[in-house]
Amino acid sequence: MTSDSVNWAAVRADFPILHQEVRGNPLIYFDSAASSQKPRQVIDALSRYYEHDNANVHRGLHELSSRATDAFEAARNKVAKFLNAASADEIIFTRGTTEGINLVAQAYGTRYVKEGDVVLLTEMEHHSNLVPWQLLAERTGATLRFVPVLEDGTLDLSKLPELLTPEVKIFSFTHISNSLGTVNPVADLCRAARAVGAISVVDAAQSAGHLPVDVQALGCDFLALSGHKMCAPTGIGALYGRAEVLEKTPPYHGGGEMIVSVSLQKATYKEAPHRFEAGTPNIAGAVGLGAAVDYLENIGRQNIAAHDGELVRYAQQRMEADVPGIRIIGPRERSGLVGFVMESAHPHDLTTYADRYGLALRGGHHCNQPLMKKFKLPGTSRASFYFYNTKEEIDRMITILQEAARFFS
């Protein structure tokens, strides 16, 4: 697969923030796994919304309110198509992946998980797909189990039969590991969950903007994503919930927007997705997410995945060949990020060093403390790529890493 059909230089030019110097050096932004940058098209969509259409949704009879409502619901449609959901009613707007997973744990989990039940996770989960389940376990008396991670950074699927037993009510796992870059076999895992009567929850924070994600082909019950990691603003995300499962899920937050009628003692609730969207939503954020979806669809996620893949393979090959004392963590087949450690420099010292040369890396435990403990690492440095990055930037990173190896030894 190649991505030659895209004019990547023109794409890069869409991102105003990338064209600046940091401390006298050209910015190299290799921290898109933490948060991506935003193209002009998304920034403009936000200004346009605030300059022309801004009002509250679903509650005014005036022109601006109906425009805002249309824009908000149009964004929902775009996200539904982006994920190939069967209906836009299966898309709930959230603040991000973290809120999406908390929604499932609190609304669905509290109703359907009982003492003695099991929630199955994996050892590579981000804290946001771990702590909500710990809280659920505390509330309900359920227990947590974990699919182990092998030395090479992949899941030990041979353990699945003994872990995924009928007591498992929820199997929640990440599509792509944010520290290892592992891409998990989501469709297989969802099928295995269904076979024991468990629902599946997919953390798509690292995948939604990077490769084609088709919820029907994956066969998942829930899937959570964050807009800010896929060119949209912060504070907006989406949770896909399969209609059949959403129907039987009780509300999450209570308030306006989610009710049909309210008396002093009782309320009746709307259908999904509105039942899960109490209060005035992040309308502008949703509009921005819709614009980001359009932008990514225009490039094509196949092309994005191919470009990410070329960059990460190139980076991996150059790091191993040309930087002394470096060790790459995680599987060889990986998404567009590499986690690594250097013999001579602690991840934080290396990150500080790189920053002085305009290179934005992430250093630390990446919200994966248990995983770092397992690999006996104090943390790693991570370079994460997106489609606006270039091989020339990787070459500059290699020079900086080589200099750092000299500097710290």
Binding site: A345, H346, P347, H348, D349, T352, Y353, R356, Y357, G364, H365, Q369, M372, P378, G379, T399, I400, E403, F407, F408
Partner: protein, 165 residues
């Protein structure tokens, strides 16, 4: 690539040497308190988001008026480990009043630009470059925060500097 003067000031060879070969590395135990009025106190310093960990153990003498001995163990970035190593050298054998003076002077040194650092700081001036890296102040102060806690005796436990940084 041009050398960067901020980095060279921060990571001086002596500092890197302390981080690779930390002095007074180890732990004191109750058995080290042999005389009347001596007491061993141990405090753990933990910056979980960085992964820096330090255990400072001190032997207080003269019913707490003197820091008779000090050791540390730990792992983490060069700044946290070198700062701990230098701290043990500078504080060992000093009176409580002197140690408290050092703690305050050191904090000033690494958080603001200091024209004429007080003489008492001596080699600790190696860490002066930290003030240009506000995100790294918490690394440099972790061991010191643990020492401060140890001087309060009894109330030992786990301390962190992450809220500061």
């Amino acid at each position: 690539m041009l050398p960067n003067s901020d980095l060279e000031e921060l990571y001086q060879q002596v500092l890197l040497d302390h981080s690779r070969r930390p002095r007074n590395f180890g732990e004191l135990t109750e058995a080290d308190a042999t005389e009347a009025g001596e007491k061993v106190v141990k405090v753990q310093g933990d910056n979980p988001s960085c992964g820096d960990e330090i255990v400072v153990s001190v032997k207080l003498a003269d019913t707490g008026l003197k820091l008779a001995d000090i050791k540390f163990t730990g792992q983490g970035c060069a700044i946290s480990q070198a700062s701990a190593s230098l701290m043990t050298i500078k504080t060992k054998g000093r009176s409580r009043a002197e140690v408290e003076e050092l703690i305050a002077a050191f904090h000033d040194l690494i958080t603001k630009q200091t024209e004429n650092p007080p003489d008492i700081l001596g080699d600790l001036q190696l860490l002066q470059g930290v003030w240009r890296f506000p995100q790294r102040v918490k690394c440099a102060t972790l061991a010191w925060r643990a020492l401060e806690q140890a001087l309060r005796e009894g109330s030992a436990g786990v301390v962190t500097t992450e809220v500061e940084g």
